[in-house]
Amino acid sequence: MSDEVVSDASAAGIEPVIGLEIHAQLLTNTKIFCGCGTRFGAAPNMNVCPVCLGLPGALPVLNRRAVELAMRAGLALGCTIQRHSIFARKNYFYPDLPKGYQISQYEHPLATDGELAYVADDGPHVVRITRVHLEEDAGKSLHTAIGDSDRYTYLDFNRSGVPLIEIVTHPDLRAPRAAADFFARLRAILLAIGVNDGNMEEGSLRCDANVSVRPAGESALGVKVEVKNINSFRFLQRALEHELVRQTELLRAGGHVVQETRLWDEANGRTVSMRSKEEAHDYRYFPEPDLPPLEVSETWIAEVRAALPELPEARKQRFIRDYGLPAADAAHLADTEERARFFEDTAASAGNPKAASNWVMGEVTRRLKAAGAGIEVVGVTPAALGRLIRLVDTGVVNGSAAKAVFARMYGSGREAEDIVRAEGLSQIGDAGELTEVVTRVIAEHEDAVARFRGGNEGSLGFLVGQVMRATRGRANPKKTNELLRRALTAREAAPRTDE
């Protein structure tokens, strides 16, 4: 559907303009303004206290670890960390908002003016980050699945006061798929820096999208619609595609887009109006008087910056530069820290990064995929795999035998060399031994020999295969090739063994 939609819209000369607001739960042990735990899945209202229940008289005290993680996210996204930022109250009534306001940051956020630059399948992208700010989550309304849900809504405040960052992008995205791709990259970064667990099903990573359309080439923005309730990359893409079609059709029909908030209805594959601009809340933001301005020192910022791990995009560029890997391979290997480490350790052990890349991208990935598992449960150590690669590079085993060796190594803890020795898998590179086999194969396949001599080069491959068969795959393919060619192109006579 997606490509159709996009080409449809671009045929109409319409371009979508998309910006994202992403809420990510910070991986702290305790809530942002009290000492309650943040563990997901506790029984309802077990992780609560006077502060996160908003009881009369309770006051917030800022969790320093939350600030640190928010700074880490800001720095990873190239933002400037503001030495001085201010918490603000966002006032609105909702039963799961226990104080009647959410403590957030408004005019003076913690981090501003960043960007995420990356190379996607369709080329380089730069998405500017407007801001990253700290805020608290609300509780949860439970409307269903309880005995008397037809009469009552229940409230669970375990999530109330869980620390979040909100990441706001500029409207720099120009296609639904690009938006989904960006969101996936952002998620990978948040995971890589240990700020968020990336779990969209449990709601610890959520996304709202602002989307408008305009005639391609126009620089003024169209009327924007905010789409909420998007909790997967696929939903994001589908919701945006739906909005793109809806808004394009509105304009085509001579109508206009209404500024409003819409909800993604996954069951029906469409967005539905939630509230219009007129119904929009006036949040009456004002500085939170219960919290002094947040001051962070240059030293603290420097410490957080120094502790940042290498990010996937930077790592990918390094793999391309230092190891000469193709971009796609580099991107895959660099995507997570664990996979990258496995690859780099294998490359170091093998002394051959390209071969290491091929093995990790090929056999290792195939194995993990078949098991539906990640690199953390891989059945071979990078050191052992590296030693197998060395056996190939030094001609001890050939490629196809190496695969057989790998199959025996995987999950068994056995060493490549032991397998090769025990199962007689070492390569036959000795000219004498190989020439014997070659002579026999030529003698046994006169037809193929004749075809080759008649100019059919392809027959050579058949004959190589026969040598491999005869040696159970142990023949050195290069040498076999050489010996066969030489024997066949010699005078009519049978090959001379003393050459």
Partner: protein, 493 residues
């Protein structure tokens, strides 16, 4: 010392040294309350059983325990401060039946100091008011004249101490709510520097202005109480790191050659002549003690009340949003016709809050609204800075600034009910200390012609409560007004 003659913390120490127990003291005060609080209505809840239990545990521990500076001393607590196991309603229907599951930090500290919470005291609903008439349980009456208001919003705490129903009390002060009732009831009331005392467990009215402080008959008792509750609290991010000096020791030393500023110009208009006379006489006492009295200009003082009535309602409109009927206390009965969420909110807040609270919520909601924020809230915050600068300039050459606490003595019950603006103007001398965060004390300084007490207010430098207490103690030695007991008091001095 007999139980029935006890008035101060010093009296309690003496009595206990002579053999009375904490239970004896507690029982004495419970009797006084039972016998005399009826016409005054200082208390909304008397914690009889809990108080006696607590007194017993102090007796077991031993009153001479040096960790118990308030051993066996009853304390009355304004009903907007959370007390575990006792009702905390801020005199509002919307908190009907609410029992806090935790103690405010000040209660925690009072308990550790050996004090006995004897009951909760009446106040204006959510501390909004200056008469203690805006209470769901009815008004408190001034022990000096039962037909008059005790001031507010901490009127119950002030009346309890003035009527000798409790030796000390805690209240909260957002625009004068400790000092004004202290003045009306002829006792000592102190608003500490913002941040000096933890607000954790104080039902917020205006978070940037609220501060908990002591009521007492004497400056020394106020100092002892402040000592027990002051100091940084990890539960309140706005509580201050500044060290708390030993007030008791400091009180014995007078301030050498103090300079006291008086903003004579702002006292020219709107001050009751009796108040002016009593105030001037108090200034003469200070001068006679060696103080140098100088005139100080406070050019922005006239903006304090309008600034206060922008900032305080704005913060209140947000602070009171949590009282929505969803999670605790009062929820308006929902009939079948209007059983949706919005009508539950509307009806709960409409019938749960009183008129004055609703008036301020609406004012504050308006001034924070999109398009008005800059003109009101932001502007008011800027004026706060200007007012603070006036004081900082003055403190370059004076140690304290003296004013009457209020422009008039206590007025009649119901007299100003229909004129909120006139009521608001009564905060003219007190609101500045909240807007600037500076400490201020109200001391009894005599009477008007009608025999009603008048208060002398001294404002000090930030975190310099010590100077105010030393000046106050010095004044009190030559002018011990506190020895007079009001007609409705439990004992006659």
């Amino acid at each position: 010392m007999t139980a029935s003659s006890i008035q101060t913390i010093a009296d309690i120490r003496t009595a206990m040294a002579e053999g009375l127990t904490a239970v004896d003291i507690c029982a004495q005060y419970l009797e006084r309350i039972a016998a005399h609080d009826g016409p005054i209505h200082a208390f909304t809840h008397v914690a009889k059983e809990q108080a006696l239990e607590r007194a017993e545990s102090i007796d077991r521990r031993g009153a001479e325990d040096p960790d118990l500076p308030l051993a066996g001393v009853p304390v009355a607590v304004k009903d907007n401060i959370c007390t575990r196991g006792l009702p905390t309603t801020a005199s509002s229907r919307i908190l009907e039946g609410f029992v806090a599951p935790y103690d405010a930090t000040v209660i925690d500290r009072l308990t550790k100091a050996g004090a006995v919470v004897i009951g909760k005291t009446n106040c204006d609903e959510f501390a909004m008011g200056s008469t203690t008439e805006h209470s769901v349980s009815g008004p408190t009456h001034n022990p000096w004249d039962l037909e008059r208001v005790p001031g507010g919003s901490s009127g119950g705490s002030a009346a309890a101490v003035a009527a000798r129903l409790s030796p000390i009390a805690v209240g909260s002060d957002t625009g004068g709510s400790i000092r004004q009732p202290a003045a009306f009831c002829g006792i000592v009331g102190l608003k500490p520097t913002y941040g000096r005392v933890s607000r954790y467990g104080l039902l917020a009215f205006a978070s940037s202005l609220d501060q908990i402080g002591p009521f007492a008959l004497t400056v020394s008792d106020a100092a002892t109480l402040l000592q027990a509750i002051a100091g940084q609290d990890s539960c309140d991010a706005t509580s201050a790191v500044e060290a708390v000096p030993a007030f008791d020791a400091a009180l014995r030393e007078p301030v050498p050659n103090p300079t006291i500023g008086v903003p004579w110009q702002i006292l020219e208009d709107g001050v009751d002549p009796d108040v002016h006379t009593a105030f001037s006489a108090a200034i003469d006492v200070l001068r006679g003690q060696g103080a140098k009295i100088v005139d100080v200009p406070l050019p922005h003082a006239g903006y304090a009340v309008p600034t206060y009535y922008v900032v305080a309602p704005a913060e209140a409109s947000s602070n009171l949003a949590r009282y929505d009927g969803v999670r605790y206390a009062y929820r308006a009965p929902v009939d079948a016709a209007g059983a949706d969420l919005t009508s539950m909110y509307d009806r709960t807040r409409d019938t749960g809050f009183g008129d004055e609270v609703k008036r301020r919520i609406m004012l504050g909601t308006y001034t924070l609204s999109a398009g008005y924020y800059d003109a009101y809230y932001l502007k008011a915050q800027q004026v706060r800075t200007l007012i603070r600068r006036d004081y900082d300039t003055a403190f370059e050459r004076v140690d304290a600034i003296a004013m009457p606490t209020t422009p008039t003595p206590a007025f009649g019950l119901g007299e100003r009910s229909d004129d909120p603006l006139q009521l608001y103007m009564g905060d003219v001398f007190t609101a500045s200390a909240n807007l600037t965060g500076l400490p201020a004390i109200s001391l009894p300084c005599g009477y008007g012609a009608s025999g009603l007490p008048v208060g002398l207010q001294l404002t000090g430098r930030a975190f310099d409560e010590e100077t105010l207490l030393r000046l106050g103690a010095g004044y009190e030695r030559d002018a011990p007004w506190w020895r007079d007991t009001p007609p409705a008091a439990a004992i006659r001095g």
